[in-house]
């Protein structure tokens, strides 16, 4: 995984609550067997009409937000299905920071495995960011979001921060505890399936 660098970009405001992963990446696109190429299907049903023409009223189709890397959304973002394809689609499209008042657990966890930073902020701050038209900077190292008029600090678990900043592969990390895993297995009384 690539290490997470500072992100400087305008924000894409997606002013909706309970955005579920079925909306982020609809089921018909889950049949790919690789991790790349999902960006063009991101928010497919909100982005395109039945003839697959762009819907002009959807924020991703607004040319002002074309190169945005920061998505700001409402409460409970990423709820529903555990499909990691949702994170792959956001990342492949260009978003590496998602800001919302709250996230669903599995989606939140999936972000860190792919170098995407989910930031939980107070509802009022999110509402301000939804209105922000200028370029903002997300500085993970110092846990600060700089807007043209403000500096907002944010919380992040220190372990997850390290994973992102160093681009760590958590399987390699886990293999450092091989002896502990073996030790656990020796005392476990749970039988094999077969």
């Amino acid at each position: 995984m690539e290490s997470f660098k500072k992100v400087t970009s305008i924000v894409t405001p997606l002013d909706k609550v309970n955005v579920d992963t079925d909306q982020i990446i609809p089921k018909q696109f889950l049949k790919l067997v690789q991790k790349s190429g999902f960006g063009k299907f991101l928010f497919f049903n909100w982005r395109y009409d039945e003839q697959e023409n762009e819907k002009s009223d959807f924020v991703l189709n607004n040319p002002n937000y074309k190169n945005s890397q920061i998505l700001v959304a409402g409460d409970n973002f990423g709820c529903g299905s555990s499909r990691e394809h949702a994170v792959w689609a956001l990342l492949d499209y260009g978003f590496s920071v998602i800001i919302a008042p709250s996230f669903a657990d599995i989606f939140f966890s999936n972000c860190f495995k792919n170098g995407v930073l989910p930031i939980t902020l107070d509802q009022k701050l999110v509402e301000k960011l939804l209105q922000e038209t200028g370029v903002i900077e997300v500085d993970l190292e110092n846990q600060i979001i700089k807007t043209p008029s403000d500096e907002i600090s944010f919380e992040i678990d220190s372990y997850q921060k390290k994973i992102l900043l160093e681009g760590l592969d958590d399987i390699s990390l886990t293999f450092q505890y091989e002896d502990k895993i073996l030790e656990f297995e020796k005392q476990s009384k749970v039988p094999s399936v077969l």
């Binding site: 555990s82 990691e84 657990d105 599995i106 476990s188």
Partner: protein, 471 residues
């Protein structure tokens, strides 16, 4: 201080615990399916890693398998590739696979318990959010993403922030347990606590209203924990649990000694503390019908569609969400739920496609015909469920009523196979999610119990099944 059931399972699975870090926990059972695993196996190959414990891992294909004649080739090329990829991955990595022709094939959360693979006190993961189903057996069962699938395949462990224990007490007795079902209990819970009410928690369902339920009904409850946002949901095992798992195909040989070790241990201590609590009284609850685009947007069958103001309790974001939902669902506030006409009925999914669900639905159907305006299908949760139902003659009851009787799979719960709604079609569905487009782009889903779905199929609109004789 005493411990909750969740804490006991958690503590007995800690491999590495450090301050300010997630905990590395051991996974006893890993269930794999075709949609969320190919990239995980690819990751193993790229890094020259093997599956650490193939003997704790099983696979099946359920999400995009066709539910029509299995002797015919799969027409959807991309589905076919994904199914073949799973076959190859299981072969290459030595994993037991119940493939499309296996008598044990079915929805992963239906076959786990049916085969005796799901066990109390264990940790179970699967790359599917409805893994919470297995919590009905007193297991800590977690849905995970593909990166964690790869992590568990490689190490049989995963890193997890410890969730908080959440007690949901279900008190009282339903007056008509055939009409007011486990589905109505869990929809009522989600209606009350909301779709993020359980975020960051593991729910333990307790109380008379839960212990009264059969194992299959308990699975329906735990299955939808994720729709309340919870990391998992579980129920303490009791004699019903132990009986259900006895003498299944993969029940461990030393099962009785395992039961002895579970009996006194796998329950929440009387002085344990939960971080959150909610109580639902079920004496008078009605059958539930969802009206919006998430499972929290649900009301009694006797109600009318709420106005966004009524629903949102003054929260402007929720109000806009409700407006958008009503627009998508093409429903006006004030419309009586019983006046909503439907086009399709789907009885299936990991929530409600077990034998008991089909038996209960068949009682409503028996000797009747579905409305000429409705297309209806039954998709049994597994080939075993299908076979058992056929031995009881349930297939005939459904077919005589003009239902389609299909092969097992996830089917129209998420419409990855050809079973989908057309744009604008309205469906009474026994599945778990009424998200926009979930059952087909532009399709409109109303979540209900199997008996409510069956009654809607006959009448062409929702009806209160309490008025019927279902005993």
């Amino acid at each position: 201080m005493g411990k909750t059931l969740f804490e006991k399972i958690w503590e007995s699975h800690i491999v590495v615990e450090k301050q300010n870090n997630p905990t590395l926990i051991y996974i006893d059972r890993h269930l794999v399916h075709e949609v969320t695993s190919p990239q995980a196996f690819d990751g193993l190959r790229q890094n020259n890693r093997k599956v650490r414990r193939p003997d704790l891992t099983i696979a099946t294909m359920d999400h995009n398998v066709p539910t029509t004649d299995r002797s015919l080739p799969i027409l959807d090329q991309t589905s076919s590739v994904q199914i073949k990829t799973l076959e190859k991955n299981c072969k290459d990595f030595g994993i037991k696979l119940f493939d499309i022709n296996s008598p044990n094939q079915g929805i992963v959360h239906v076959i786990g318990p049916q085969l005796g693979i799901t066990l109390p006190g264990t940790t179970i993961v699967c790359g599917d959010s409805h893994t919470s189903t297995h919590g009905a057996f007193g297991a800590l069962a977690l849905g995970i993403g593909t990166s964690d699938v790869e992590h568990v395949l490689a190490s049989q462990t995963m890193w997890l922030e410890k969730p908080k224990p959440f007690e949901i007490r279900v008190e009282g007795k339903r007056k008509n347990p055939h009409a007011v079902t486990a589905k109505d209990i869990v929809l009522s819970i989600i209606k009350n606590i909301g779709t993020s009410g359980g975020t960051g928690t593991v729910i333990e369902y307790r109380g008379e209203g839960i212990t009264d339920l059969s194992m299959e009904q308990r699975m329906t409850i735990c299955n939808m924990s994720i729709e309340a946002g919870a990391r998992a949901g579980l129920i303490a095992p009791d004699e019903k649990t132990f009986d259900y798992l006895r003498n299944r195909e993969y029940t461990p040989k030393n099962y009785e000694s395992l039961v002895d070790s579970w009996k006194d241990h796998l329950k929440t201590d009387s002085d344990a503390k939960f971080e959150k609590e909610f109580i639902l009284h079920i004496d008078d609850i009605a059958p539930q019908v969802s009206w919006g685009t998430n499972p929290g947007m649900t009301c009694d069958v006797t109600d009318s569609v709420p106005s966004p103001d009524e629903f949102s309790n003054g929260d402007p974001n929720q109000k806009r969400g409700a407006e958008k939902a009503l627009d998508y669902m093409a429903l006006a506030p004030g419309t009586l739920i019983e006046d909503i006409k439907i086009d399709r009925v789907f009885i299936g999914s990991c929530t409600n496609a077990r034998l008991e669900d089909l038996i209960e639905a068949s009682k409503v159907i028996k000797g009747q015909k579905i409305s000429p305006y409705v297309k209806a299908m039954v998709v049994p949760g597994s080939q075993m469920v299908k076979k058992q139902a056929e031995e009881m003659g349930l297939d005939k009851i459904f077919i005589d009523a003009n239902f389609e009787w299909r092969e097992a799979g996830c089917s129209m719960c998420l419409g990855m196979n050809p079973d989908i709604l057309s744009p604008g079609e309205r469906c009474a569905s026994t599945s778990n999610r009424n998200f926009e487009g979930r059952q087909g782009t532009g399709g409109r889903t109303h979540l209900v119990s199997p008996v409510m779905a069956a009654a809607a199929a006959i009448h062409g609109h929702f009806v209160d099944v309490r008025k019927m004789d279902l005993s």
